[in-house]
C-alpha cells in the first residue's frame, strides 16, 4: 500500500511536469482492497488481472516496480517496449495478463487461463482474480465473463470496487439494484461485501474469499464500497464529486485508516511506519531514475511485427 501510494504520487508529479506521455491512472483510496487481494496471490502460481487502480495489488502480487516506471516513462526495456503504455502493461506468463481498456473484458480471459490449467491438470490450489469497478458491471463482457466462470465453477475472485463514479458518472446512473453484491445470487456465485476503506476488514473478507475459491467454492464476488480519491486519471480534477460524499465515511482514506488500525493494535510502531515510507521513497526514486536513463523506443529498431509466425508478414 505504502509503496503503491508513493509510486503513484511520484507518477502523478511526473505527469504534471510533462514527463509522462499519455494518461496516468492512479488508485488512491483503493490500495487497501487491491493490496489485500494481491497479498493473497502468488506470483507465477495464481492469476491476477489488475485494472487501472491496482498498483497496490500489482506490487503485492510481485510485479517489479521497474515494470511500472518503464511502462509509464516509455523505456524500450519495458514489457511492451513502448508499444503500449501505463496500466496496460502485463506479464501474462507470470500470471499478470495485460489489460485492454474495454471494461469487463479481462474476466473471461482470467477464466480461460483457469480453464486451461484445469485441462492441463494444474488447477489444484490456483486462484484467478480480476478487478473491476462499478462501471464495468454494466457491460455485457462482465455478465458473460462472470456467468461462464460460474458455469465452469472456476476459482475466480472478482473484486468489484464500488468507488461511486465511473469517470464522472455516479452509481445512480450506472445501475438500479439496491446492492451490487445481490447480483452474486443471480449468477449462482458466493457474494461478499466489505467497507473498502477499512484495511483489516478488507484483508479479512478478501482473504476468506480467495481461500473459498482456492478450496473449490467456485467464483467469489467481493464488493468493496469506497470512494475514488482521485480523478479518473490525472487529467481529471474530479470536480463533480460532491463535498458531502468526500466527507462521508466512504470518503475515508484507507491509508490513514489502515495506519491507525495497525498502530492501535500494536502491530507496528510509528518508527516502523516512517521507515517503510522512506524505504518506499528510495525504491521509487531508484526505479524512476533507472527508467528515465533507459533508451526510448526507436521506430527504426522496432520490427513492427504483429504476427509471431514470421512467414505471415506481408511486404506491404
Amino acid at each position: 500500500m505504502i509503496t503503491a501510494r508513493t509510486l503513484e504520487s511520484k507518477l502523478a508529479s511526473l505527469y504534471k511536469a510533462g514527463k509522462i506521455v499519455g494518461g496516468v491512472y492512479i488508485g488512491p483510496g483503493q490500495e487497501a482492497i487491491s493490496a489485500s487481494l494481491g497479498s493473497c496471490l502468488t506470483w507465477g502460481h495464481d492469476v491476477f488481472a489488475a485494472l487501472i487502480r491496482d498498483q497496490g495489488g500489482r506490487t503485492a502480487f510481485g510485479e517489479p516496480m521497474l515494470d511500472a516506471t518503464r511502462s509509464y516513462l516509455g523505456s524500450v526495456k519495458g514489457l511492451s517496449r513502448g508499444r503500449d503504455g501505463n496500466i496496460h502493461r502485463g506479464d501474462p506468463k507470470a500470471g499478470l495478463p495485460a489489460m485492454i481498456s474495454h471494461l469487463g473484458a479481462m474476466i473471461s480471459v482470467v477464466s480461460g487461463m483457469l480453464l486451461a490449467r484445469r485441462l492441463q491438470g494444474k488447477l489444484e490450489g490456483v486462484v484467478g482474480a480480476a478487478s473491476v469497478g462499478d462501471g464495468a458491471t454494466s457491460t455485457g463482457a462482465f455478465h458473460e465473463g462472470l456467468n461462464v466462470a460460474a458455469v465452469e465453477k472456476l476459482p475466480l475472485v472478482l473484486l468489484l470496487a464500488n468507488n461511486q463514479f465511473a469517470y464522472s458518472t455516479p452509481t445512480e446512473r450506472q445501475f438500479a439494484c439496491a446492492n451490487l453484491v445481490d447480483r452474486a445470487i443471480g449468477y449462482g456465485v458466493e457474494g461478499h461485501e466489505v467497507d473498502g476503506t477499512d484495511l483489516l476488514a478488507s484483508l479479512k473478507v478478501i482473504s476468506e474469499a480467495v481461500e473459498r475459491a482456492r478450496e473449490g467454492g467456485g467464483p467469489q464476488l467481493v464488493v468493496a464500497n469506497l470512494l475514488r480519491l482521485s480523478g479518473h486519471g490525472e487529467h481529471d480534477d474530479a470536480s463533480y464529486v460532491p463535498e458531502a460524499l468526500k466527507n462521508s465515511p466512504l470518503g475515508r482514506d484507507c491509508m490513514t485508516v489502515g495506519e491507525n488500525q495497525l498502530l492501535e493494535a500494536g502491530m507496528i510502531t510509528t518508527d516502523e511506519l516512517a521507515s517503510w515510507k522512506s524505504e518506499a521513497a528510495e525504491e521509487v526514486q531508484a526505479a524512476v531514475a533507472t527508467a528515465q536513463q533507459e533508451p526510448s523506443p526507436d521506430p527504426y529498431q522496432d520490427d513492427w511485427r504483429v504476427f509471431s509466425s514470421p512467414e505471415l508478414s506481408e511486404h506491404h
Partner: protein, 323 residues
Amino acid sequence: MGEVTYIDAIREAQHDVLQDDERVFIYGQDVGNFGGAFKATKGLKELFPDRVLDSPISEDAMIGMAVGAAIEGMRPIIEMQFADFSSVAFNQIVNQAATHFFRTGVPIPITVRLPSGGTPGSGPFHSQMMESIYAYYPGLVIVTPATVADAYWMLVDSIALDDPVLYCEHKFLYRWLKADSMKGDDRLPIGQARIVRAGKHATVVAYSAMVHEALRAADSLSEEGWEIEVVDLRSVKPLDTDTVIASVARTGRLLAVGEAFPWGGVTAEVVSRVASEGFHLLDAPPQRLNARDTPVPYHPNLWEAHRPTLESISAAIRNLLRL
C-alpha cells in the same frame, strides 16, 4: 465427384488435431454431444470428452476464454455457430486477440471457425461474410478455404499457427462440395493463392464459395472461346499479391469477385493493389463484383439476386473483355 464433403474435412481435421495435440480443445455452442449446429464436431465429444466443451451463448466470453487458454499454452478452436454472431465477440477478437502479440510478445494461437456466407432462406443474420471486417485489423490471419482439401489442410495449419486465425468456412459448400479425397494432392501453405484454372484473356480473383461460381462462369465463357484464368485467394490475409499480379501480367484484365458487401473489403484491396503495383499490366480498368449494398435478404429469389452468381459473373467478365 467423390463422396467426401467439405464439412467432413472440417470435422476430420478437428478430429486429427485433437488426437495429435493435447493442447487442442474445442469450445462453442452445442459442439458437445449435439455435435454442433452443422455437425462439424459430430462424435468428437465421445472421443475427447474433456476437450470438447459446450459454451453458454456468450460469444464475447468464448473468445476471452480462448485468449486466456492460449496464454496458458493451449490451442483452442472456437466454433461460432454463425459468422454473423462473431459481431458480439468483436471486441475480444480485434482488441484482445489481435493486439496481444504486438503488445506483450506472447502469441495467441486460437482458431475461430466462422460458418460464413449465404444459403437460401438464411436471411440477414445467418448469411454474413465477415472476412473483410477482420482483415482490417492488424494481427489476425483470415483464411477462406474453397475446396475440400483446403478445408482440411487449412484448418490443420490454422491450428498449428501461433497466431489468431479466423477460419471462414462457407456454409453453402458444407454438403454441396464433394471430392474423391479429403486431403487431395496439392497442399499449399496459408498465404499462398492458387490458380485453379489457367487462361489468357482475363483474370478472375475469387475466394470461398465464389471460386466455384467463377469457375462455372469461366466454363460457360469457354464455349465462346474465352480463356478465363481463375485465382483462388485461399487466404485473404495474408493476401498473395504476387500470384494475382503474375496472373494479371498474363491476361491484362482483372475482375475481383466476392460475396461480401461492396464497400471496401477484399475485392477493393485486390483491385487497389493491382492498380497501384501492376497498373502498367492492365489493358482495361480493373473491375469488382460483390453482393449488393443491402442486408442479405431472406427469400431465395431476392438472395439469388443479392450475391454474385454464374450469370452476373459471366456478364461482368463479358463487360471486362469489351473494355
